[in-house]
Symmetry: C2
Subunit: 197 residues, 2 copies
């Protein structure tokens, strides 16, 4: 590129930056979902940007993984949007939400493991705020309808959803749960937890 960035007009530079960031996040999601140890250099190469450009946007591997996780959860949250969940009984809606959540988490479980290595669990949870709001709405609806237990706070039941589905990803990756058994194990576990005692 003969033209230096400094000579471009400001809107063009901003559009370049946005394109680069989008390419980095897309490549980061793809590479880290295949291999949680994928390097910053590999991600820059796959995104078609230089390492200096990448580090200009994301100053460390931790910052990059943090942004990639946020991006992947945002995309995943759009997949989970399903208005028909509001019209079926809460236990059935929970089974369906668990299944769709697991499908998307399973595809990205290595990205989640990459995040687990460099980010605190509390931070990973912050990135899941939007999908966890879906879980909370459903749990509160089930509690109001008398379909779910009310002797445990809804916030704690949301936490168990987050914690159990991510544990399943760890178990699946460590080979302690077979791919074909995860969905049934998760459904049984979560519905037992939510059932009225």
């Amino acid at each position: 590129m003969a033209k230096s960035a400094a000579r471009q007009p400001v809107p063009a530079r901003r559009a370049d930056a946005e394109r680069n960031i989008a390419a980095i996040l897309e490549a980061g999601t793809r590479l880290l979902s295949a291999d949680p140890t994928a390097s910053v250099a590999d991600i820059a190469k796959a995104a078609g940007v230089g390492r200096v450009t990448l580090y200009g946007h994301f100053p460390s591997r931790e910052a990059l993984v943090d942004a990639v996780l946020d991006h992947a959860v945002e995309v995943a949250d759009a997949v989970l949007a399903d208005d028909s969940l509001d019209t079926v009984p809460a236990p059935e809606a929970m089974a369906r939400l668990l299944r769709s959540s697991w499908e998307v988490l399973d595809r990205h479980r290595r990205l989640f493991l990459a995040a687990d290595r460099v980010l605190a669990t509390e931070r990973i949870r912050e990135h899941h705020e939007r999908p966890l709001r879906r879980v909370e709405r459903l749990i509160v609806r089930g509690q109001r309808a008398g379909e779910f237990r009310t002797d445990l706070p809804p916030g704690w039941l949301v936490t168990t959803f987050f914690s159990i589905i991510h544990s399943a990803a760890q178990e699946r990756e460590a080979g302690r749960l077979a791919p074909e058994e995860v969905e049934q194990v998760l459904t049984k576990t979560m519905l037992s937890l939510l059932a009225r005692p």
Copy 2:
């Protein structure tokens, strides 16, 4: 110290090293359980050793936190040893094991958070191998006696114990669970999960 390490006979040097390591692990457990961001320099000072000595044994903060966690779990595991658990019904034994596990985890929850920031969950779990064997023995006994469900694999039920008790530590630290409610929340959660459907 006027006497150089090189002039000491080998057994004396080894005894010095062992004393230093023990002091570092003890100080690390104490400081990180109070503040998960405690620095390597603070831990060296509290242990009465120089930073060079500390880095000689633990080349990075990650290696130090890893060793401190291993040490703390070893001490905790000794506290959990209670032969009387083998003679009461499995659900009662589970409630008692949860309570004693929570007591010790709650005391060290900030050390666990320090570990969570720098170690993968899989590694943290490896350090808990011994206490988790206690949990597994109890779950298998309850399954054989018909007191616990058998439609979920014991290994997965052990994982839920590990995951739920550590989630409670996160929730407690984030102020989302009150200290006085944790024990009851944990007992209800785990016993619902283990009950025959």
